[in-house]
């Protein structure tokens, strides 16, 4: 019990230290607005990709519809904060986005999660397109033009805190009863069912949790960029989230963090190259897939507990 507490405290200290480090760097001027924008984009991508990694890497369900749930969160925030321009209004809109995307995930998931592999990918892609087209044709969402002048209620500290909260929730879920059930579904559906695991229920649980975190990312995206349109949430957005997951390692949350940061930095650095940027980006992806097909980190996870145990073992050997 006490040792568990110790690891939680260490993680908490790391998170707080990261916050103050960034805060100081901004105050000193090392991080300018340009870099700050990059960091926020990376943060939003981390939230999106950890959620998708839960669905693809841990539950083994190949979903291509993540941008659809992101759109729901983005529009919830855009619509609500235009009338309620307060931080309370923002958090209310995040909550509303989560609720609506959970409902959407249930409606999408219940029929489609009975499918496997490629079929599921196509079905979820279609579902995300449906969400996008509904938004495109509604008055309240501003149609194809989207919504402008969304009040900026989310700055980098909000994004930072949300990255921490969603990651904690997903990682804790993975290391619980539910996470084990979900992973067993990925490993072998027939064996999981023979062990008394309701595979459909757990697939849906992972899908819904992933969708809820995508909605949070969408809210942050809308509030930070202040402009959204249905085209931001097309198939390309789903694929770029998928790229982060695959590149970092399917089934590694640490890998998702690394890949989101690497790609975010690469994206910003390559902005000077203009049209050549997408070519270099694509070449980098191809190279990594050739030389490390399991992603940068495979299924490896960073663990403070493991580091501590290694230290202890060393001490024992030396004694």
């Amino acid at each position: 019990m006490k040792t568990n507490f110790k690891y939680n405290i260490i993680w908490f200290i790391i998170m707080v230290a990261g916050f103050y480090l960034m805060n100081t760097l901004i105050l000193v001027g090392v991080i300018n607005t340009f870099i700050e924008n990059m960091l926020v984009t990376i943060g939003i991508n981390i939230i999106l990709a950890t959620g998708l990694n839960l669905i693809i890497g841990f539950a083994g369900q190949f979903s291509l519809g993540h941008a659809g749930f992101m759109a729901i969160g983005a529009y919830a925030t855009a619509i609500i904060t235009q009338t309620a321009t307060t931080p309370v209004g923002f958090y209310l809109s995040v909550f509303a986005g989560i609720v609506v995307s959970i409902i959407a995930a249930l409606i999408v998931g219940i029929p489609t999660l009975r499918l496997r592999g490629d079929y599921l990918a196509i079905a979820t892609m279609g579902a995300a397109e449906i969400i996008r087209i509904i938004i495109n044709n509604m008055k309240i969402t501003g149609g194809a033009a989207g919504i402008f002048n969304i009040p900026q209620l989310a700055s980098w500290p909000t994004v930072y805190i949300m990255v921490c909260v969603t990651t904690i929730i997903i990682v804790n879920f993975i290391h619980s009863r539910g996470g084990r059930a979900v992973t067993s579904v990925r490993e072998d559906e027939i064996a999981a069912e023979a062990m008394g695991i309701n595979i459909f229920k757990w697939k849906l649980a992972a899908f819904v949790l992933g969708a809820a975190t995508a909605a949070v990312a969408g809210s942050l995206h809308a509030s930070f960029l202040q402009t959204i349109s249905p085209n931001d949430f097309g198939i390309m957005e789903s694929i770029s989230i998928l790229i982060i997951v695959v590149l970092g390692g399917v089934g590694s949350i640490t890998g998702t963090f690394v890949a989101a940061i690497v790609l975010g930095v690469l994206d910003t650095v390559l902005q000077d190259f203009g049209a050549l940027r997408m070519v270099i980006y694509a070449v980098a992806l191809v190279l990594i897939m050739i030389f490390k097909p399991s992603g940068i980190l495979g299924t490896w996870e960073f663990s403070i507990k493991r580091i501590f145990n290694r230290f202890k073992r060393k001490e024992r050997v030396e004694q």
């Binding site: 804790n172 290391h175 619980s176 027939i190 069912e193 062990m195 008394g196 595979i199």
Partner: protein, 259 residues
């Protein structure tokens, strides 16, 4: 009718093919029963029907367990598993990329009462239930001498140990009936002898009913209290090992008719 598991007129058709036709059988408490038959006789299909992996075409399966009487036909596999029917697979189906400990913990999932909120926010009750689960799993693994391999990935275990782990995993669901699908397949005589001891140990220690499919006749004749013989999807004979050995129909099914 006080049998633990009562199967009546079970039928399974795959299109025009009748894989299992009119099979009636029963399993009593704490009994060790074997199911034998030539290749393609429908033994594994029968297992899959009983454990709900594939749906029954017609017939009834009734469990009279500790918690009451349940009709099992039409229930999904996970419900049947929760009611106390657990199994191993002919071609080992472990969770290969997970550790030995995780394999056993997963089998305890449906019995654990760990809440979603408690695990997300790491409430004290999460650590408590988690500790209990790990302790229980460790105890079970120790009985089967797997405690040193707890952190090894299942796919890295030697073949015989994988078979043993599959039995441990099946036991972790606290079954009333354990179905073993060819547990000795691919084992050498020494491993088979160890397995025989293991199955006896399981049956005595956990007081459960065991139904096993096996081609190794020495193992079957040593272990089984009762034997069912299946051929072309229907029951050919039922009886004690000695009765089966002397049964002409069984000999004919296995060896063909003499000229």
């Amino acid at each position: 009718m006080t049998s633990l598991l009562q199967v009546d007129n079970l039928v399974k058709n795959f299109g025009g093919l009748t894989a299992v036709s009119n099979v009636s059988m029963h399993l009593d408490n704490n009994e060790l029963v074997a199911l034998i038959g030539p290749n393609g006789a429908g033994k594994t299909t029968l297992f899959n029907l009983l454990t709900g992996v594939i749906p029954v075409s017609s017939g009834s399966i009734v469990l009279k367990g500790d918690d009451g009487t349940f009709a099992l036909n039409g229930k999904p596999a996970y419900r049947i598993a929760k009611l106390g029917l657990s199994r191993t697979f002919q071609n080992i189906r472990l969770f290969k990329n997970l550790s030995v400990l995780d394999n056993v913990l997963i089998a305890m999932t449906s019995r654990s009462k760990e809440g979603f909120i408690a695990s997300i926010f790491r409430l004290p009750s999460y650590y408590k239930t988690e500790k209990q689960l790990v302790e229980e799993a460790t105890k079970l693994l120790t009985i089967f001498e797997l405690e040193d391999d707890m952190d090894v990935l299942a796919k890295n275990l030697p073949y015989g140990t994988q078979r043993r782990l599959e039995i441990v995993r099946a036991l972790a669901t606290k079954p009333q009936i354990l179905f073993l699908d060819e547990p000795a397949a691919g084992m050498n005589p020494e491993e088979t002898a160890n397995l025989t001891q293991l199955i006896l140990k399981v049956q005595h220690r956990f007081h459960i009913t065991v139904l096993l499919i096996e081609h190794d006749m020495s193992l079957v004749m040593n272990l089984a209290e009762r034997i069912y013989v299946l051929d072309h999807g229907s029951l050919l004979a039922e009886g004690t090992p000695d009765e089966i050995k002397a049964n002409h129909k069984v000999i004919k099914a296995y060896l063909g008719e003499g000229e």
